[in-house]
């Protein structure tokens, strides 16, 4: 991602953002609300169009063509704050739809894949239920499994635990930690600093649409360079590992 600029009308949401993520790297994006973190990751799978700059995913340059958008979306999975499961389909159907429609995989193969990933997020026994019958934490784990069923190369997380009750945050974070340990490339927008500390290779701090500071979690939390970062970290709970370690 190089020189990315994005405007909403007259408001500039991203200012000249450069970011390179290596294969297998885990990035945590943090910053105050309105700083452009969500916008940034939504540009990566073209839920938002950019006005200037370049985005290359897994060697494919993202432009306005349907083909390029298609190719990139095949490689990029995304998990949303509000889960966005399809309410009229069972958990299993939620996970099977995209592989069948977008990857043209046979029904039985899609079901086998879906069950495998549902098992992996430890929710295999709920496959026949509808999303509304599950707790928030369970729904988010289904959403993670649904994204994994497309076998993405990169996973984007857009505040995956912000809509959850505190006691459900851990089960979702544990699932994400498991995914990280399996070597998935991950870009996470999150306020869970404990997660950042434990999993991230790099923590990136954004404000007003710019990347202000980035570094290893250790350096980032122990010795933030910018006043803006220090202020942000001061306002947020100190990073602790409590409740996040498996």
């Amino acid at each position: 991602m190089k020189g990315v600029q994005k405007w909403y009308g007259g408001y500039q949401a991203l200012r000249d953002v450069d970011l390179t993520v290596r294969k297998g790297e885990k990035i945590v994006l943090c910053g105050p609300s309105g700083s452009g973190k969500s916008t940034l990751i939504r540009c990566i799978n073209r839920l938002e169009a950019i006005q200037q700059g370049n985005i290359v995913v897994n060697g494919h340059r993202l432009d306005d063509s349907i083909k390029a958008i298609d190719v990139v979306r095949q490689d990029v999975g995304m998990v949303f704050q509000s889960f966005n499961l399809f309410p009229h389909m069972t958990v299993l159907q939620n996970c099977m739809l995209a592989p069948i429609r977008a990857r043209r995989i046979g029904k039985s193969a899609a079901e086998a894949t879906a069950r495998k990933f549902l098992e992996r997020v430890r929710i295999g026994d709920q496959a026949e239920k509808y999303p509304a019958q599950l707790s928030g934490g369970q729904q988010q784990r289904v959403a993670i499994a649904r994204a994994l069923c497309m076998q993405p190369k990169v996973m984007l997380f857009d505040e995956p635990t912000s809509a959850l009750d505190p006691e459900m945050v851990k089960e979702v974070l544990d699932t994400m930690i498991g995914l990280a340990n399996d070597g998935m490339t991950m870009i996470c927008v999150t306020h869970e600093m404990g997660f950042a500390r434990q999993v991230a290779d790099r923590v990136i701090f954004m404000a007003e649409g710019q990347i202000i500071e980035e570094g290893s979690p250790d350096a980032f939390f122990r010795n933030p360079q910018h006043a803006r970062t220090r202020q942000f970290l001061g306002e947020n709970p100190r990073p602790s590992l409590n409740g996040v370690l498996p």
């Binding site: 298609d70 979306r73 009229h88 739809l97």
Partner: protein, 218 residues
């Protein structure tokens, strides 16, 4: 000697009822098909296309149905296209229904949360699959009470077809009433026939609405 209202007269009304039902079914089926196209075009994201469909809806919602039937029946006849009365009113009602149903479904499509479309896009689903698998199933559920409500309006509205000489239930009632001089009895029977058609639909619609309200509370 004027005939009294008897079995033959009742049979005549029943045939009128048949035509009312047939016209409703044709207009509703045609209106659903064309209305779906209108709703999809109205939400396609292309400014020009959305603008054109908005005008289309505006014209058919903003002029009397009676006028539209006149135009189809008499207007097209002037251009040399002489249509059978049933075909003419069927076309008129279909076009009119497509505008109303199109607008109802446009609202329903837009009422499906944006996150549903975003999740589908993030999964790499194309427009056709996003609509068919994700948005429309939810939109239809949302629009069902309003759609049924419109169907009830349509059943009663078909009585306008009498204006171009098409004999449906209301017109049949008028004919029988003129022959028997028993308007109260005849129109009472006609009214009961409309009621038997419409009331169960209305009841079903409001039950559906209550069920939807319950579901959205969960």
């Amino acid at each position: 000697m004027t005939p009294h209202f008897g079995l033959p007269e009742f049979g005549f009304l029943l045939r009128g009822l048949q035509w009312t039902v047939l016209l409703t079914l044709v207009a509703f089926a045609g209106g659903c098909t064309a209305g779906l196209a209108v709703a999809l075009l109205r939400t396609c994201g292309h400014k020009g296309v959305e603008w054109i469909t908005r005008i289309y809806i505006g014209i058919f919602q903003g002029t009397p149905l009676l006028l539209q039937l006149f135009v189809v029946y008499y207007g097209l006849a002037l251009t040399g296209l002489k249509l059978d009365a049933f075909v003419a009113v069927a076309i008129g009602f279909t076009v009119n229904a497509s505008a109303f149903l199109g607008e109802i479904w446009r609202g329903a499509i837009q009422a499906v949360p944006r996150g549903q479309t975003e999740a589908a896009m993030a999964l790499g689903l194309h427009y056709s699959s996003r609509m068919r698998d994700i948005v429309l199933p939810q939109a239809i559920r949302i629009s069902l009470p309003a759609t049924i409500g419109y169907l009830v309006q349509l059943i009663k509205g078909t009585s306008l077809a009498a204006i171009v000489g098409f004999i449906e239930l209301a017109r049949a009632g008028q004919i029988v009433s003129n022959q028997t001089f028993q308007p109260l009895l005849v129109f009472g029977v006609v009214g009961a026939m409309y009621f038997i058609l419409c009331w169960p639909l209305s009841w079903w619609g409001s039950r559906m609405e209550a069920r939807l309200a319950l579901a959205s509370q969960r």
